[in-house]
Amino acid sequence: MKVLIIALARNNQINPNLANVLTAAHKISSVCDVLVLGAADLSKVTSYSGITSIYHAANLTSNDLLASNLTESLANIAKGYTHVLMASDSAGKDLLPRVAGFLDMGQISDVLAISSPNIFKKPMYAGNIIAEVESFDEIKFLTIRTICFDAVASSGNAAVVNKELLVDTDNKIQFVSEKLSVIETVGLASAKRIVSGGRSLGSKESFDEVIGGFAVKIGAAIGASKAAVEAGYANNDCQVGQTGKIVAPELYIAVGVSGAVQHIAGMKDSKKVLAINNDPNAQIFEYADYGYVGDLFEVIPEIMRGL
């Protein structure tokens, strides 16, 4: 087995979920290679255990890093491996299926467990169903659901090898700009605590005041249901659920969230769930460890006073 993990840098940072992808990779082989695309501080990455070589293609622009431009060179690199893994985040979901398709191979998305080098578990139907699938492909392309794997130990000392990557920029697509969230939700996927709000917040102002205020008070990241995002109360990048982010914090506090199937899909692996809702029959309580029935506009300020 020869395993490669691909990680894209953003703002000179490598997503710490690489440590979780490594644990997944180690279920296939005790060592693997990592290919880092874009300029980044690799001091943390070199300490991760079980890496043979870190290939670093630092000299890439935002334009070079677009999936459309990277595909061909990555496809050539992939041919030297039996498994190519990426985190199932916005970069991995965009890039890896394209590389696989380019090579006429399939991909297994959102791998939750690795039964053997060619048998994997993945979710379907918003996580209500877990499927076990066998891949017949010569190269297994896998995106990893990182919350399902612990971070790898930091006892390694991997060598960094500079890599020249020829990127095919034929001007069919250009990077224009990026807008990163004002609210710090970058860490949503790895946050220890999350406060999530639903449509019951009633307005963007209430959402920011009640959910935002509560989250700041307890040092939590802000989440939102699909309904709250659709109503414009919260940014799309806060969305937790089948179509948003998949999270598994130590504590998940759902405030005024009804608990639609697609929301549950994004938070059901949380260690402890506290639900606050004025409807005692809200579905969210079926997935909560603790529940409180009451008007969130009265309850949240009261809780904040008690903390």
């Binding site: 991909q107 379907m124 996927a189 008690g306």
Partner: protein, 247 residues
Amino acid sequence: MKVLVAAKRVVDPNVRVRVKADHSNVEIEHSKMSLNPFDENAIEEAVRLKEKGLVTEIVALSIGTIKSEETLRTALARGCDRAILVESNENYEPLNIAKIFAHIAKEEKPDLILLGKQAIDDDANQMAQMLAGKLNLPQVTCASSLDVNGNSIRVVREIDAGNETLEINLPAVISADLVLNEPRFIKLPQLMMAKKKPIEKKLAADLGLDLSAHSRLISVTDGEVKKQCKFLTNLNDVVNVIKANGV
């Protein structure tokens, strides 16, 4: 500009899917079926571009059993001009769907292929990317807004940390995020009109493609984890739960 859209037939999002007794697959034979919600977003966007005079024709493609004809009628009622059904009883994986799509795209030569970012049954989020890779076309996935300027489109793409803006030249493949738009309700006259619009049928087996399986479903299990909720009646207890979890 000609647009090719997808219309996948999936189990209705409100149906709770069950595992078959032998765990071989899910039990969906008698379930209510719908047009994949993300494909609805893609179709809605194509129709809005047509209403602005930027699109001349919208062709909907579905790959599945003869029952997908019903899904295509919904797509036609939503404003697509004509439809193609590639019939097969096989439950193809995204790669093979992408191959069939690429085959039809080569025949139809659309300027834009606009698809839902994922289907709500397998949740794979692969097809648009695989298709773009196969056709060697530029791609933008998870689009939340489209601004057409002649032969290029300025697209905002949703990413984990916020969003990014990209300028993509046609022909191109774009996949729709949920926030791209809010699909309209279909009215009865549109449903009636859809019955008169043409659906061309082809058999997947006749396309001359290698559609052999690249993977096999071994088994499925129920992924649901219901908990026993402890209802608290005193807010001090709620505060203590939060404090006990590291605050």
